[in-house]
Each structure stands twice: as structure tokens, then as C-alpha cells.
Symmetry: D2
């Protein structure tokens, strides 16, 4: 199908573009304005926007393949791009028909790059009810993609008279009055995710800009958003594993010397090296198969629309969790172990081969992998699905 081929070709070009400067930008950190523009200009911001709203209307499984490819060279920018897509899904899953009809075409028309200010563990952003909407005051940290974005999806808490808090979700323009994005992300990995801190001072949030009102119970369909987010992480881990594998393979073929006192005249013929290489490959392969299966299940669940049951949603969430655990391990293990096969030369600073471990190490800490395993266990032991949250 010609349409599909275009996405692949554009992805390949973008990957090449990002790869050219990835090592240097990883060192520098900060905001990658030129590369975010390259993503904007690629046309891929419309990837998951439906065709009738002017987008490419790609399936989420297709989008995940794009992420996986891009993450092989630059997982930080890929994360920023993926979170744009996630906000598009937010509009579709949480927004009203009117909001969708408004925001989706405008996103394309005005070349919006969406970011987020949704960090569920930071509850310092408060919403106060006023006539026709709310007013926002406070702070959201770890807001991925916020720096350099055009629009933000945000969550805030409304304090009830009894002191309890209820969450609302809505959107604002990043450059609206009272919104300030601070570029303060400082971590040893994923150094260009633009995960700033967003401050809100008396920012109005009209009713029309609210996706989820306080106290609304989300439908199973709406809670698919977390599953989509978890599969974004999963594909990034997998892409990172693949990227480390490929770069190490190139090094091994061209430069690795025979092992001193080894069992073969060439490194590449060393049986112990081949044996371990297979172990790395199998980790990637298992993660790949499980991720493919989970994202196909996600496509099916999305197609079920409002008819999706909590049980069905839970089964997809578990499939995603299984893929995530395997991809997490593939990412962390492969990016660290390749060096035992390439030998010391591959640690040269200019090659930047350590960035895969640093990136995947930071990114895999989003939520504890051990809780995923516990949830998977409870599902298979008892058939119990995890309650939908921002992490499950």
C-alpha cells in the first residue's frame, strides 16, 4: 500500500536526520529546536490523526513501528514525538465530539506540537471553579515535551470543601498568558525530552477546554490511554535495545580484535562470543514478538470503541505489561552487555555507544517493573485485571 510505504520512507529519512547529530546532542542536552522542526516538517505529526480530520489515519500499531525505528537512533526526540501522538489520542478518547472536530484539524492546520503537563505524582497544580470554567495556579514537573510545544494537555486538582481532591484534565496553549515553561530537566539520560517544569499563574481554563471534569468516572475506552502510553514506553525500550545491538554489531564486524587466548582466530568466529550474542538477540526477539502481539491487541481494543469492557481493557493492559517487562529487560541488558562482546575500543567517547544504556536506564524508571510483574501474576493466577490508573 503506497500510503504505508510513505510513512516508512519518511521515517527512514527522519531517522537518518536524527542520527547525524544524536551523539553530539546527547552530550549537549537541552532543547533540540531544529530537530523538533524536522519532525514538524516530516508530516508525521498527523500520523494518528484520522483521515477525515486531515491526518494520515495510521493505526496505533503502525505508529509504534515508527517509534521503534526512530528510538534506534534518538530515543529522546522519539519520546517527545510519541507524547504528541498520545495527546492526540487523549483528544480522541477523552474529548467530546465538538472538541475532536475542533482540535484535530486545527492541530494540522496550525502545525501544533502537543506536550503534556500531566505528571500524576505531582499534585501541586490546583484548579478553582469560576463562572464558565476554572482558574489554574501551581506547578507541574517532569512535563515531557513541554519546552517548545504549542499546546499542553494538563491535569489539575480541584480541592473540595472537605479538603479532598478531585482531578480534571484539560488543555491550554503553551504560550498563553500566565503559563511558563522552565527548561530544567537534568538527568544522565534521555537528555533532550524537553521535560520542563510548567508554572501556571491565574490561567483560565474554560469549560470547553476540559476533557475530563472532576468526579467523572472514565469509561474503559477512555482508560485505554494508559495502555497506549505504556506501549509507547515499551517501543522505546525495544528501539533502544535494537539500536545498541545494531551499532555494536557494526563495531564487531569491522573492528573487534580476536580475543587473547581465545578459541578462534577471529573474534566473529569465537564460539563463546557467538553464544552470548545469541542471548542478546533472544532477549530482543522475545520482546519484539510480545510487543507486536500487544499492539495488535491495542488496535483491536481501540476499534471496539465505547463497547470495550473493563475485562477486555484489562486483558490488553496485561498484554502491554508483558511486552513492557520483556522490552525493559532487553533494553537494559543489551545496552550494557554489548560491550562485553565489542571489547574496550567501543567505549571511546566519540562513539556514544553508552547513550543507549543511559537512555534506557532513565526511561525504564517511569513506573516500577516489579509492580508490572505482580499485576501479571495476579492476572494469570486469579484472572484479576489491574484497576486502571495512570500507570496500569
Amino acid at each position: 500500500m503506497s500510503h504505508d510505504l510513505d510513512v516508512q520512507a519518511v521515517t527512514a529519512q527522519l531517522a537518518e536526520r536524527l542520527a547525524a547529530t544524536a551523539v553530539a546532542r546527547d552530550r549537549r542536552g537541552g532543547h533540540a529546536a531544529a530537530e523538533r522542526d524536522a519532525i514538524r516538517n516530516s508530516g508525521l505529526l498527523g500520523l494518528v490523526i484520522p483521515k477525515d480530520a486531515g491526518g494520515l489515519g495510521a493505526a496505533w500499531s503502525t505508529q509504534y513501528q515508527v517509534l521503534r525505528r526512530l528510538a534506534q537512533v534518538d530515543s529522546a526526540l522519539t519520546h517527545v514525538y510519541a507524547f504528541h501522538n498520545l495527546q492526540i489520542a487523549t483528544i480522541q478518547l477523552w474529548g467530546s465530539a465538538a472538541q475532536q472536530a475542533d482540535l484535530l484539524p486545527r492541530t494540522l492546520r496550525e502545525h501544533w506540537f502537543w506536550g503534556n503537563a500531566l505528571n500524576p505524582r505531582d499534585t501541586r497544580l490546583k484548579a478553582t471553579r469560576v463562572e464558565g470554567g476554572w482558574v489554574l495556579n501551581g506547578v507541574k514537573s517532569y512535563a515531557s515535551g513541554s519546552v517548545g510545544s504549542d499546546r499542553l494537555v494538563l491535569s489539575a486538582v480541584e480541592v473540595q470543601p472537605d479538603g479532598s481532591e478531585r482531578q480534571l484534565v484539560g488543555h491550554v496553549a503553551t504560550r498563553a498568558a500566565g503559563v511558563q515553561v522552565q527548561e530544567d530537566w537534568d538527568s544522565f539520560g534521555q537528555r533532550q525530552t524537553d521535560s520542563g517544569t510548567v508554572t501556571f499563574e491565574q490561567v483560565p481554563l474554560p469549560d470547553a477546554a476540559v476533557f475530563q471534569r472532576p468526579g467523572e468516572t472514565p469509561t474503559p475506552q477512555a482508560t485505554l490511554r494508559t495502555v497506549l502510553a505504556q506501549l509507547i514506553l515499551t517501543n522505546l525500550y525495544l528501539g533502544l535495545a535494537q539500536g545498541a545491538y545494531q551499532q555494536a554489531l557494526g563495531y564487531l564486524r569491522e573492528r573487534t580484535r580476536p580475543w587473547p587466548n581465545g578459541n578462534a582466530a577471529q573474534a566473529i568466529e569465537e564460539p563463546l562470543l557467538a553464544h552470548r550474542w545469541a542471548e542478546l538477540w533472544l532477549k530482543i526477539r522475545a520482546a519484539e514478538l510480545a510487543t507486536d502481539a500487544a499492539q495488535q491487541a491495542a488496535d483491536v481494543a481501540l476499534a471496539r470503541g465505547a463497547a470495550l469492557t473493563a475485562e477486555e481493557r484489562g486483558a490488553v493492559a496485561i498484554a502491554a505489561a508483558e511486552a513492557k517487562v520483556l522490552a525493559h529487560r532487553a533494553g537494559v541488558d543489551v545496552s550494557s552487555e554489548v560491550f562485553e562482546l565489542t571489547g574496550p575500543g567501543a567505549t571511546q567517547g566519540g562513539l556514544g555507544l553508552d547513550r543507549f544504556w543511559r537512555n534506557v536506564r532513565v526511561h525504564t524508571l517511569h513506573d516500577p517493573v516489579d509492580l508490572k510483574l505482580r499485576d501479571i501474576g495476579h492476572f494469570h493466577l486469579q484472572g484479576r485485571v489491574p484497576a486502571p490508573t495512570s500507570y496500569t
Copy 2:
């Protein structure tokens, strides 16, 4: 498809039948005549025989699903049945058109259960050229399915004038004059595989009964036989892992008591138990996905017929090797670790839950898993496919 449903239903019935006595028969060992008759009567001996020869014409991937299901309860009888199917494939892959036209319908008509005498590491069976064929003398050990079989596929070596040996492959009736099957298999697992020792004394092998003559170089298509055999082993390991998992799950749900000093009031709610259960599940799941992928690749390769190239054949062999490594580990690990979750009560002799480990432990020693890993490594490092042998 109704035809497919029949296979599933018949398989389920047969599984139930085998399960009823599996623990007792494992203790007893020896030949399971009644159960082999149950297989004969099920109609499944014709599973992979083409429809135009009167069989069910199932794909090999379908056959593997049958094996996986049966191995969950009785991997020894499943092995015997699988090796019957493998001899059917031998006729198709190695036999002439005339041999196929003769042997396939006769198998059904005369209710033949095929066994083998092909052990490549035992070269004591010699073939001497005579007018119109060969005469066989010598011994073949570890001949799976030989006890109680009707026909045997065998390999023998023809000693050349210079002392070198060349292999031929053919078939004889198990009850032919001069053929004797000794029931001497004694191992702590897979105790009813009927892997006897076959002695040949002046047994004629006419040219028409020869599948592969000495010195013939097999085509890539012909060497698919090893791949099919490796995937039989793979599905048995996987079925064994699943069988141990299921029986342990039943025990856990009904009988396991809360852990002393644990973190939950019920064993099944214990987070540490759920966590480990997920690890077991993921081993099975990864093996399952890789096995499904490999056997679909095998279907495709079989369909390529004589057009199959050595490279294509090699890629399928690697896919099978990958699945085999994962299934091997799932089998050995799951069958041993389930006890850490069920607790000591599950070691009661009458439950026979240890038979899964004993069976998979013995069966996984067919050829060294570490060489599979080495071959997988060389393939992904260098694109080099393993040379076709009886093991690769």
C-alpha cells in the same frame, strides 16, 4: 472450519484419555499398548497425510498444536505419536512419487504406526549391496517408537571399499524376519517412548524401499526434515512447561496455604508469589510466540517445495533453533520452579508433579542447547546458516 474443530475435539478427548493414567504409567514405564491403540483409533495417525492420499491433510503448524496439547499431559506418548508423523514427512520429503503413492494410503489402510531406527550417533547398522538392493545387519539403539510399531524408517551405513562409510535411508516392516526390537529403554524420564534397540540380521532392503541412496546429496527441501524434527522437540518442551504450569496452578488455587510470615492473608494474594508466577508465565509466553512464528515459517518453507533455497531453509532452521532454546528453558525452569510457589504439599508422590521436570530434563538432552545458541549467534553476526545435519 469444521474439519479443524474435529481435530481439536479429538485431541482434547485423547488428552483426557492419556491424562487419566499418565501418572501411573510414568511410574511403571515400559510399553503402553492400550494408549498407542487409543492414538491409532483416534484417527490422528492420518493428521499430516495429504487429503488426496486419504489423510486429514493438516498443516504442520496444526500438527504442532496437537502435540503441544497432548504433551501437557503425556509427553512420552506424544513423542511416539510425533515421530510417526515425522516418518510420514520423511516419505514425503525423501520418498519418490511412487513410494508416496504406495506408502501413504497403505499407512491409513493398514493402520500403520511408524517408528524409527535412525539414531545418527549409532553407526553399527551396516548395509551390504546385493542384487536389487541391500542386506542389513547390525544394531540401532535409542529407536524411539520402535517397540509396538508396524513400520520402521532406518538409516544404515554402506562401507565403501576404502573403508569410508556412506549413509542410506529406507524402511522395513517391524515384524519382518530378522528384525528384532528389544524393550530396553531405561531412563528417569520420558519413560514410555518405546525407545528400544533394534537388531537386524540378514534383513533384505530392496531398492524400492530405499528413500535415500548412499552418496545422494539431499536437497534443501529434503533437509527440512531436521527442522520439522526440531520443532517437534520444541513443542514437546513447550507442552511440558504448560502442563506443569497448569497442574501447579490448580494446586495453588485449591490447596496452597498462606506463607508463614508472609505479606498477605492468602497465598494467592502474596505479592512475592504473584511476581514469581509472572516470571514463569513470561518464559512460557516468549517460547510460545517464538514457536508459533517458527512453525508458520516451516509451513511456508514446506509449501515452497523443491524451490526452497539453502538460505531460506537455513533461516527457518534458525527460527526453529530460537524457539527451541526458549522452549527448552521454559520447560526446565517452569517444571522445577513451580514447586517454590505451590509449597511442599505438591511433592506428594501421588500427584506426579515431578514428572514434568523428569520428562523435559531427559527430552531436552537430544542435542546440546549451547550449540543451538552458537549457531543462532553466527547467523545474526555473520548471516551464516548452519549446515544441514541430523541436528541442525
Copy 3:
């Protein structure tokens, strides 16, 4: 030191004696009267009895070396013997001076073999207060060493007026009126541990035979008993790992054939085999070092006597837990993996090489290894020692 040499020599002779029939007895299961007499006659029943009571006065660390050696060939009988020693420790740690002065010399004089009826998870044995003592009625299951023993240490619960239960510990003669030992142990491993079910009908327990009265809070010194018991299990797992390793090594050196398509002309020269063998060795080696360290710490703690603090006791318990986890894994992993190196011939029934896995698999289920890990974690994270129980 000549005394030490005697213990080693006697242990070596006893090991040889047990080894001669271990495979056959494992098959048969049940009570091994002749072998228990061999232990009686060896003089080793007095190993940990103090010299001033007529015993050998060996350190517990010495005793553990004896257990480790014996478990290499027969872990079931070793368990029975170890639990005799544990009851001797019970007398020393829980008994009054008068009880020690009475029971320790009598043990030697009357050649008592002690067993136990202490299973903490079976609370069906009740004690009713009467003038000058208690009367026992009820049942204790999984009473290791009870069959064929002379004396039993037992625990029973006294039901309080409010329905709550408090435990007492005491001892009776196995052949006392009203005591009946049923030989009903049936498990796929540790098949000769004489772990019967003991029934008590109106059995008097005079005050003088009580080691721990209901409601007595044990001292840290007294709770060392659990640590000693855990180190018995640890040494048995370690001995089982060593036994499997040694028997497999013998097979490998004498009988294993070169790997088909391998990297060396002889199996023993195969680099992949040597590599995996090292992995097995390292598991044993780490367990051995940790066990040696823990049992030296136990010697020190025992020597502290009544001065032992709860913190000191906890630190030894953690050292024992660390050793136990490593020995558990060495036992389970080595006894299962050796076959991947020996090849299929070593699964021959007559060799009995599977008994190591069966024995260690059953024995390691005493209490969940995952809780040990949790306790170790809490200790190193927070410096918190586990509360003394029958398992910690």
C-alpha cells in the same frame, strides 16, 4: 588434631556405607533401619553432646561439615541424623540444667536416636493441664525422624479459657503408651526421612519433661535453635549440589561423547561446556563460602550463651539466610543443569542421578526462599532483624 581426624574418618566411612545402597533405597523409600543402625554404631550420635556429658563436644561448624559430606551421597538419612543433633541442641538451649544433666548422658548410654514432632504449621496436638503436668491428645504430621526413633521432642498447644492457644515444648519416649508413629511419608524426594505422622492418645507429659512452658518468652539464646535448623537445611542443600556435581563430573570424564557439530574433538575440551561448568562451580563456591561464614558466626553466637542479644542473634539469622538462599539455588540449579553437560546417557535409571534434584527440590520447600530474601533486604535496608520464629 587427632580427635578431629576421627570424625572425618568416621564420616568418610559412613558416607561410603550409605552411598553403596543410596540409589536402591531412594527407589524403595520407607524406613532404612540398617542405615540408621549404622549411624548409631558410628558414634556420631554423640557428636555435639558436650565432652563433660560424655560426647565428642564438636563445634556446630564441625557438625555442619559432617552433614555436608553425608548429604553428598544420602541427604535423607543425613536429615534424620541432623535432626537428632538438633534435638540435642534443643535440650541444651531450652532445657534446664537438671534436664541437661539427665538427658545428655542418657542419650549416649541408652543409644537414643532423637526424632521430632514439632511441625509448627500443624496445631492439632493439644495439651491439657493436669496435676504435675499435661496430657497430650492429637496428631503431628511431617515429624522428621520419628519413625524408628527412641525419643521425640514435641510441641503442643494448650487451649486457654478464652480459646486462644499457647505452645509448650517437651519430650516423650517414642515407644511410650499412647504414642503411635505412622509411616506415611510419600514424596518424590527425600524419601527416607522417616517423616511420619505421630498420634498421641492420653499421653502424660510430666512437668519435668517440659522444655518450654506455655507463655514463656524464649531468650535470644533459645531462639538460636531456629538458626541452627536453618543451617542444617543449608548444609544439606550444599551437600546435594556437591553430590550432583561430583557424580556428573565422574560421568563426564569417563563417558560423555564429543558434542555433535561441537568446537572440540573431546567433550571435556569443548569451550562451551567448560564455560557452563564454571557457572555451576561458581554457584557451589559462593554458597560454600557464605555457609562457612554463617556457621562460624553461629559458633560464636552459641559461645555467647545467655549474653547473646537480640541484635546479635538477628545478625546471625541473616547470615544464615544469605547462605541458605545461595545453597538453595546451588542445589536446585546444579542438580538440574549437570545433565546439559553430561548428555543423555546420564539419565539412565540405574545411575540415580536425578535423585539430587528430587531431594533438593523437596527439601528446599521447607519455608519460602522469597521470604528469606525479603528479610535479608529489610535487614540491609533498615538494619531490622527478623522476629524469631520457627522459620527465621
Copy 4:
């Protein structure tokens, strides 16, 4: 012993000093002149120099404890210091009595910091025989500790008339005419090891400065040098594991938040976290026990002097290899996994917690760990010791 306490106190002070700037210096890379002076001024350059030559005369096992402690905070400077000690050992093991009598006191008197130019895989440095000695021309790369050193131990090859090469070992002043050290080390870890490239142009090497003449067969005693070097690496890996563990523990206690959807109200009480923490601890613990055992064996072997046999030397080399494998894994695994327990906050750039992984990752590539495993395997399978080389 008061002398020992001094070493501990000085080590603790030096560790504190190095820790203060370790994160900043890791970022900067390059030569750490002030810190090398701090080492010089600490008095520890005389640690392993015999007392009769004016040194502290510490055992090598004591030296290893010092390294382990220092590597917890700064493994790069520790490596530089360790390699000074290794050159002292070189003088003792390879040098003549006259060389020892000259060089050891002078080292103390003139405050020499020794470096090396010995990289066995770089054979570009050639020695040409002249009257009374040799002349050196060529290059040595990866010369750890060369930048900023006072003296260098070097190896060069003498080309024979038939083109074959034979190695010699000697020493020169770093600031001698014709010697040039280039500061070109660029790796993502161990960034301050001063591992420059040393160029020699017509540098005279008089006979008196030669430790090992071409063609001399080293004694078992002399080849202990490799064992000492391997144990230096081992202790650095172990120290790195311990450093990551300690820094993560501090973070966990003070800052880690409860896991979302976890099993406890506080992170530190989470059973899944405690369980994994124990796994990390056990890796360190096993490595520590094996390293302690190996370095005690090394002390004994050094004390054997010229009487040391090849078999004895081989057994120590294997003990060191075992410790090295365990420490390698503890280092790589702990430094990567701690983040899964601390959570994402610990990836903040300023904490520098990633430096442990980067350092150990680079340092563990010295020689392939898989060959160590193979050698360990051959030793335990066949009793065969590895041939002494620069790596074994």
C-alpha cells in the same frame, strides 16, 4: 595493630578527599594533578614496599582492602594508585636484588609515582640491541597512569634476525629525553586513569634497567604479577559495586517515594523492593567472600617465594579468576539495577550515580570474562591450570 589502623585512617581520609570532587572530575575527565598529589602526600605510595626498604610493608591483601575502599568513591584514581603498587611488585618479582635495593628506597626518597607502558596487545614499541643495553623506538597505547608519572615500567619487542619477536621488560624515567606522554584517553568511563599514549624516540635502556631480558622464561613466582594485576581489577569492580550500593542506599532512605500502586505505605517497606535489594546484596556478598579468599591465597603464594610451583601458581590464578567473575557481575549488575529501586529521581545529573556503571563497564573490558569462565571450567573439569600470560 596500630600500624594497620593508620592505613585504615589514612585511607578513609583519602577517600573523603577524593569523594568531594569525584562527580565533577568524572565530568571533566583528564589528569587530576591535585588528587595524585594527595595520594603522594598520604604516604600510601609506600604501602607494599617492604619495611626494610623503608615502606609500610603491608600484605597485598591489605593493599586490596585499601583499593576496595577507595574505589567506592573514585575508581579512576584508585586504578592509577593500584598500578603504582603493581610496578612495585614488578620490581620485587622480576627485578634483581640490586635493582630492588636501588629502586625501592629511591621510590620513597624521590616520591616516585610509577606508571606503566606495558599493554601486551600493542607491539609497536621496538628495542634494538646496542652495547650495554637497548635503544627504544615506537609507541605504547593505553598506558595507565603514564600521564603525570615519574617512572614507567615498559615492555618492548626485540625483533630477531628471523623476524620473530621476543619481549623485554624494563623501566625508564617518564621525563627522560625522547619519552613523550600524550594525554589522549577518551572513554565514557574511568575518565581519569591517565591512560595516555607513550612515544619513545631513541630512548636508551641500559642493561641495568632491564627486568626481563628477551627469551627469559619467567618463573612461577614472576608470573604471579598477572595474578596480582587481576586481583587489582577484581577489587576495583567490587569497590564500584559497593559504592553504587551505598550511594543508592542513602538515596533510598532519604528520598525514594512510595511506589504507586505498591504493597506498602513506604518504599523502604515494600516487599518487592526489599526482595530485589537482597539480590543485589548477595551479588556483592558472594564477590566479597571470593575476593577475600583469593587475596589470602595470593598472600600465601607470595610468601612461598621462589619455591612456588606452577601448579600452586595456577590454583591461585583460578581463585582470582573466580573472584573476578563474581566481582565483574556484581559491579555491572548492581551499578545498573540500583536505579530500579531508587526510582527516577536518582538519575539527576548532579548526583553522578551513573558513573559507577560507566566506570565498571569500561574497566571490566580489560580481558573477556567468558575466557575466565572457560579457564575455570577446564581447571575444575580436568585440573588444568591456565598458562601464565598477561591476562591469566
